[in-house]
């Protein structure tokens, strides 16, 4: 066969338009190189500088592009659509990324930083603590010690007890390298000494890049790849908490398995829609829906499966089961970033898919999403009432908020779009700051997340209690906070689109949800602090900055929302 060369025409790339995305992804790769070549003691400073600089530069490029008034366009063969909603969501994501990175990089609240892997605990424990560790490791290994003569504690090194259980043979080659059971006193001791894994910062940037591609993706395949790009780093980040290792690892496994399960559904939906329309571009699906000779069953089966995958990422109610577990188990700074930024990405994609791809068929599917929104609001509000852990409570609050967001998203009007995006902005800043405050209330075992431990916090630290109260009021939607303006924007858009019954349900649900926020406030102000209750640690500059920014923007958007609302409503999706 003769080799025939047919020239390939490179698709045009609007570099300026997608420059924020390129900067973020490029800096993530650079971060990996930093990790590879810099000595360990320089890495933290280098990574933090690089990451923060990246976010600022990307934000500046985004601002310059947005203010240049360039028309909305699709680029890279229509894979990415850089329109006004995309720019707004990119800005939101970069802001959340900045605040989230400040929390993640903080080393003052948790000495040495909040991230560690198991393997690290093993290595650092082998040098000096051999004798002390013998008993712990022996307990973990049970009766598995070598030989019948038990003397695990009498000899230097934990190897004798642990090598019995480790079938890998690694333990024999490097005797004291057995696993350390998480949560034992020894685990805590080593956790206190090992440094922070700075790989988390490039991973955060990758996740952020994935999120930015996800909400700009104009065809389903790009959306799928972006979904994985944003998910994989988050799965990893969830499993790296320094304290409560087992809880953290469990959260990672659960999030991973359920996330992969959901993305398989997304993918099957993609395949069916491809079969229906012959293309996965959202605009093509829309035009095929108007004039395809294929049966519509394929279209709606595809949409249903697709939406399952998307709603999972947005933690909307029937698909929310991972949310409380992961929010509780993950390191609090990661939870903060994830809660805010993943919601933006997921709802950005939901809005785009529903508006561009399925806007013309909305009367057929809207009933189902009505039901889903109601279920989400009710489950979030009611089960949230029964929670005793503040991180789980905030997780159920996120489920309820996902229901509110869905109310705005299914309006498929310009007001619904801008209201939903504005709500994402307000919810995100309140949530990041709230998790930031949660990370400050600590006792000897790390964060004190039990609600009972928060009793009387106002007497110990009036400032932190005041800040938390303000944020919880915002989440509840009390006037003068951003939560109120956000809810107002969404509900008025929904009523304008004739969804008054849904808005009534939403109002009832937000009243119920307000109850559990108020419960925390009452607990903080009107009960006596216990003697060995948690203390409020004094945050370093990073956490202080993150919480301050969150609180200020929550206040600002509550008092003067006009500017952000006009940005959010600057233009429609372009497919």
């Amino acid at each position: 066969m003769t080799l025939q060369t047919i020239p390939i025409t490179v698709p045009p790339v609007a570099y300026y338009a997608i420059s924020p995305l390129l900067v973020v992804l490029g800096a993530a790769c650079l971060g990996v190189l930093v990790e590879a070549f810099l000595p360990r003691h320089q890495r933290w400073a280098a990574q933090v500088t690089l990451t923060l600089l990246t976010l600022v530069v990307a934000g500046a490029l985004l601002g310059a592009y947005a203010s240049s008034g360039a028309p909305a366009a699709t680029t890279l063969s229509g894979s990415l659509s850089v329109d006004r909603p995309t720019l707004f969501m990119w800005g939101t994501l970069l802001a959340f990324g900045l605040v989230g990175v400040l929390l993640i990089a903080d080393r003052s609240v948790e000495p040495g930083g909040a991230f560690i892997t198991d393997a690290e605990g093993v290595a650092s424990g082998t040098h000096a603590e051999g004798v002390a560790s013998g008993t712990d490791a022996g307990r973990a290994a049970g009766a598995a010690s070598a030989g019948g003569i038990s003397r695990a504690a009498s000899r230097v090194g934990a190897g004798s007890a642990t090598s019995g259980t480790s079938r890998a043979g690694v333990a024999v080659a490097a005797p004291p390298a057995g696993p350390i059971p998480a949560g034992t006193p020894r685990n805590r001791a080593t956790a206190g000494r090992a440094g922070m894994r700075t790989e988390v910062l490039p991973l955060t940037l990758f996740a952020l890049g994935g999120m930015m591609s996800f909400c700009a993706a104009n065809d389903l395949l790009t959306m799928f790849v972006a979904l994985e790009v944003l998910s994989l780093p988050l799965y990893l980040l969830c499993g790296l908490a320094r304290r409560r290792r087992l809880l953290s690892q469990e959260a990672a496994v659960k999030y991973f398995l359920l996330g992969a399960f959901a993305s398989a559904f997304f993918l099957y939906g993609l395949a069916l829609l491809y079969g229906y329309a012959g293309s996965v571009k959202l605009a093509d699906i829309s035009s095929a829906a108007a004039a395809s000779q294929r049966s519509d069953t394929l279209l709606f089966a595809g949409l249903a499966l697709l939406v399952v995958g998307l709603l999972f990422k947005g933690s909307v109610a029937p698909f929310h089961t991972w949310t409380p577990d992961v929010y509780q188990g993950a390191p609090t700074s990661v939870t903060a970033f994830m809660a805010a930024a993943t919601k933006v990405a997921a709802f950005g994609a939901i809005l785009r898919v529903l508006t561009i791809g399925f806007g013309s068929t909305r009367w057929e599917w809207r009933g189902v999403l009505w039901a889903v929104a109601i279920v989400s609001m009710v489950i979030g509000a009611v089960i949230g009432l029964t929670q005793t852990d503040i991180k789980r409570m905030l997780a159920y609050s996120s489920v309820a908020h996902a229901g509110f967001l869905l109310v705005g998203a299914i309006a498929i009007t310009q007001r619904g779009l801008s209201g939903t995006m504005f709500y994402l902005l307000t919810y995100g800043f309140s949530t990041i700051a709230a998790f930031g405050v949660v990370s400050l209330v600590r006792d000897a075992d790390g964060e004190a997340t039990q609600l009972s431990q928060w009793a009387g916090l106002a007497k110990r630290s009036p400032l932190v209690a005041g800040v938390m109260t303000f944020l919880l009021l915002s989440l509840a939607g009390i006037p003068l906070t951003s939560g109120f303006t956000g809810k107002f924007a969404i509900f008025s858009a929904a009523i304008a689109d004739g969804m008054a019954p849904l808005v009534v349900v939403a109002l009832i649900a937000s009243a119920v949800a307000a109850f559990f926020y108020l419960r925390v406030i009452v607990l903080m102000y009107f009960s006596e602090p216990s003697v060995e209750g948690p203390t409020v640690s004094v945050p370093g500059a990073f956490t202080t900055a993150a919480v301050t920014v969150g609180v200020l923007i929550t206040l600002l958007l509550g008092v003067a929302p006009t500017m952000a609302l006009s940005w959010a409503g600057a233009g429609p999706f372009v497919g």
């Binding site: 994989l232 496994v253 491809y274």
Partner: protein, 99 residues
């Protein structure tokens, strides 16, 4: 015979994978069931490519394989790390987190 039989086979495999995810306990086996689901989707994509007369479906199946490979690496790393901590890969033993 029409290519629809391929699609039916794909739907069957996808459902078997789904049921497997729901009934199996070993995290690695659950993960293998998810891999089966992705493979079923690939069969659908390849068949639809032929039905529609365009190669897009095949390209997408190719992407799915890349994504699945990356997912396998991350997933197995996570499962390994939890296994080393508690010496079990059953999803039922991992039950500290309950609502």
């Amino acid at each position: 015979m029409t290519p629809t039989y391929y699609l039916l086979l794909s739907a069957l495999l996808f459902s078997i994978g789904t049921v497997g995810v729901l009934v199996r306990r070993n995290a690695i086996v659950v993960f293998m069931c998810i891999e089966l689901m992705l493979n079923a989707v690939n069969l659908s994509l390849v068949t639809f490519a032929r039905v529609n007369g365009g190669l897009d479906g095949q390209v997408m199946a190719f992407f799915v394989m890349v994504v699945a490979a990356a997912e396998v690496v991350v997933g197995l790393a996570i499962i390994m790390s939890i296994f080393r901590a508690r010496r079990s890969s059953s999803v039922d033993d991992a039950n500290l987190l309950k609502y």
